[in-house]
Symmetry: D2
Subunit: 337 residues, 4 copies
């Protein structure tokens, strides 16, 4: 951490800062004969708080040198992390497609979709059983019944199951059925849940909160990694902006930005990311072109009757078209689906 003193700081001011730093157990290096005076604080930066120094008199600025995350960083692990989910590997050269309904509604609906997306080339089946809804009056998911239907669909199609866990109390139940545990956008900052998930032996799909910075996103991953779970897959799903024509603003820029600083795989959810079924195919092509390691797509046989998220669901036919188009783009950048 570097402390930049005010231009008019005198020796006493500098001494006060140095004493404060040393009392906290850190060492200092001082560039004294320069304007401004600069103090380099040496020690474990993860243990320092910016404000502990910035609030001292005549301190102009405090600059962190290290990134706030460690285990999630490329410095810590150079090669890409690969996460296996029931035979599919995320983070390798192959791009993994996860598809399925927003909510599991009933057996017929789920099996129909599962078979259709499998036929089109999806590798994993998504489906919500516990649903965190904005309104207490909306459908809240089938709960455990939904999980059982997902298990049945896995049995019939061989597709691994991706489903959300929304609270620590239902973690054991979801663990019984899921192959990949999803942390939803609204739970990205739920440190209690992250700590519990850091101890489980299943891979985690961590969705970016719709207002998360890159640092915050990776700090949530760090909660998982630091607790011992290194099977973490990131997922971009749109940020909140002033924009009026899409429910969220899908931020593909984070894909190459994450790849620069982290070894974790990252996939894209263009369904939530745009909220518009007519944008899903072009943005899926774009996500793959930008370097995404996978896609998460909502599919429903008849969207006007979906219990949730109909506006951003593809029909099985449209999903088939999506697969065809993203395969061509994947090939163009030297990857496969």
């Amino acid at each position: 951490m570097i402390i930049v003193m005010a231009v008019n700081a005198i020796d006493d001011d500098i001494q006060r800062v140095v004493s404060h730093v040393e009392e906290m157990g850190f060492q200092t290096k001082i560039m004294r004969d320069s304007v401004p005076v600069i103090i380099n604080v040496i020690g474990d930066e993860q243990g320092m708080q910016r404000e502990q120094f910035s609030l001292l008199p005549k301190v102009e600025n405090v600059i962190k040198i290290l990134k706030p995350y460690k285990l999630a960083s490329r410095e810590f692990k150079k090669e890409n992390t690969k996460v296996e989910v029931r035979g599919s590997v995320l983070g390798g050269s192959s791009i993994v497609i996860i598809a399925g309904p927003c909510s599991v509604e009933n057996e017929g609906q789920l099996l129909l979709i599962a078979k259709a997306v499998k036929a089109s080339g999806a590798s994993l089946l998504r489906g919500g059983a516990f649903k965190p809804r904005t309104s207490p009056y909306s459908f809240q998911g089938l709960g455990k019944e939904g999980l059982k239907l997902l298990a049945k669909a896995r049995e019939e199609t061989g597709l691994g199951i991706v489903t959300e866990v929304i609270d620590t109390t239902e973690l054991d139940t979801v663990m019984e059925y899921a192959d990949l545990l999803q942390v939803g956008s609204r739970n990205m900052y739920n440190t209690k849940l992250l700590r519990e998930l850091s101890k489980v032996k299943k891979p985690i799909l961590l969705k970016r909160n719709f207002s998360a910075t890159l640092n915050e996103f990776l700090m949530s991953a760090e909660y998982l990694l630091s607790g011992g779970n290194d099977q973490v897959i990131l997922c971009e799903r749109g940020i909140r902006s002033f924009v009026e024509y899409s429910r969220n603003t899908l931020d593909l820029n984070i894909i190459p930005a994450i790849k620069q600083v982290s070894h974790l795989p990252i996939i894209v959810d263009p369904s939530h990311g745009t909220g518009r079924s007519d944008l899903i195919i072009p943005m899926s092509r774009a996500a793959v072109a930008a370097g995404a390691d996978g896609l998460l797509i909502e599919v429903h046989p008849y969207p006007p009757e979906a219990y949730s998220d109909g506006e951003q669901s593809l029909t099985p036919d449209a999903f088939q078209q999506l697969m065809k188009e993203v395969k061509a783009v994947a090939q163009a950048i030297g990857r496969s689906i």
Copy 2:
């Protein structure tokens, strides 16, 4: 709900929509001899999803008439809700000041602050025992030990206790000690926690998520109200924007906007809302002038040594100054502190 058909919709298109609406159990009124044709869907709007109609062919637009929240609305309850917390009433003509440290650190720190803020006129004591931190390496709070210290401070000063509950699993523990249960910004969308809190017999301080719209904010309150807990206090604490000079953008506009549509009291947290101790006093004056029912202020005896949030904490002396200034503004608008 009003369905606006496309200009080029023909009779068959209209009939398809009408049939769909009626199959779902709603009635219709049609303005047929107009361009465009307009269909009024009659029935319980809370049970309708916009997308169930917007996805049908030749539907141009679907407009909700009712607000998504009901129990939180002024239509449902005209007069202001008053919430009592250990003798202090929020939502009446008096403005309630809640003050204390971000984190409870130790007995000496807490008692010193509690006595100081009481002497300056605060009515309730805030203090974090369970802390949801961005970094897994940061101080996570004293936990139950912190709650005990808060209880001790209450015993010594008579101040009611405000503290956060971050997960359903620790709800019982926090219930034992707190007078007002805080739902933090990161948990505003945690529907599982909200459902649990809707069943308790203590008042709730619901902080706005830093990216929540007004509707989402009130829908979270609706979770509490619809479960049976009508002692809900809202709290504005800054939104995330592009702005670079404050940690968050304190959005005072929501105070009069909430007052228009809801009967619930709303207070303001200028400490988190700005993230800068030098902005807290002027923005506290502004919050009171805008109509806030209370303030939530972070106070620490020596901010550079605070375990958390030092940059946005006032010293006891600065807090005393704040009290003096906001009292004058309160009086100017016909309220008291």
Copy 3:
């Protein structure tokens, strides 16, 4: 325009609205026996203001049916507009690459870049002569001298010239030299400049303001179209958001969104859109995959010495790599470069 009355509106309220509407020269259709009462205002919606009705007593909501833009809409013109710039056609099946330095610095720099980007396959040369800079102390461009150098580069390479016009007073000067006149992001709302440009006989490259909604973007295009200039190319260049890791948030979602509602071609500027040279190649691939009709790329032989925008400039070598990669993606989606 549809007026939704309040649920408790009585006959007098309805009559007041109807009279007001009719006095303004519009006709009405009323759905009277429904709750709420709905009034359809018939007439030229472009001439109505929402607020003229929404402010009347007992009016609950006023809904526009038509889009605010007309000439820019797909309803007005079904097929894609094609704009020719010195032999290159934007809006057809071919994707056009525009490249060059942020600022024209001197003859050597410009010719070196022009030849390099031409060799790699660029079709048009961009270069700033008049620069709108945040700081009055920054380099403000070579002015007319820069335009002359651009003309020289055109002569030597055959590349058409794209350059910005920042004020009406210098329009004549820029007209003499440019093949495609750029309206910068900061000038998208400059209606005076747009009106002047609507009368010229050269194509316009209209960059989206970094805070513009889709409707505002197309309304600026409408200024150009309604004045008589139908040679308009749109350009996405990043929006302002809370995100910290890119200078702007390149919003590729607008490409398919624009294609749905407008016939105008749209290109993408990933240099400004991300502000990071290491994101330009992946985001260029993504832009092409999303359906962009062209790219605008900043190239500089030695970015650390660029007079402006060095952080987001590619070297000629990196640009060559970009061309190779975007060509492959273009081919995958059935287009060419």
Copy 4:
């Protein structure tokens, strides 16, 4: 400017940076025996670009020490700047109220409003003659005719005139009539216009762009100051955010933030800032409580018939109520109106 080298930078890397810095005419101080190595670049920082150094190999970070603005800073001028406009002083202890219609519509409307706002205590009259409208089909203002009406209103009431100049070509015309020249939000980045205005002998009201950072806002003021016009008044008028219940998000936090770093007066426009007439009075009270030096209020005798901005205009009666309420708040904080 401080250059932080990468942890793995070797002597050659450091030497390369030092040579580069010295070639550019700056001196260096090096903290060599520390990790990381830190280089302090000494010289006029206003002349340095961050990217000139950040792009060199093994440079980790480049930190600016000085603020980008100079003449607008408190370091340059300690005491508050006072700007006189036809007898009213902005920036002193008195708070100045500017009121009037969004657009000048006709003589009757303008005189009625001018007399009403004068009677209620306004000091200056605002009114738009040249209007920058989103739609080319909307009313664009009466132009010079509007200016003449404003002059007539001044004659009859003695109120000084505040009106917008939207382009350099009409500057001379507006100069003839206005007492205070307004630069609108859309023109805050129009450096050409700012340069012209920096040479005139009239005070400037510089409105913040709805997406401007504090630094950008003050850099636009710096354009005016550096050209020789030191009569600059800043105006906050709402920023663009994700918020749905107000047209813009009035950001009062900028008032105390500006007061910390700049000597310039700052006023607030709650009409544009909220876009809702029912929020104007509470937010005006809040603006004064936060430390604003003035208010800019839209007033119209019958808002539903206003040519523009009816939704955010107060009636003369409501304006009178506003004056009463803000006077009380002003008094509470030791100021007068």
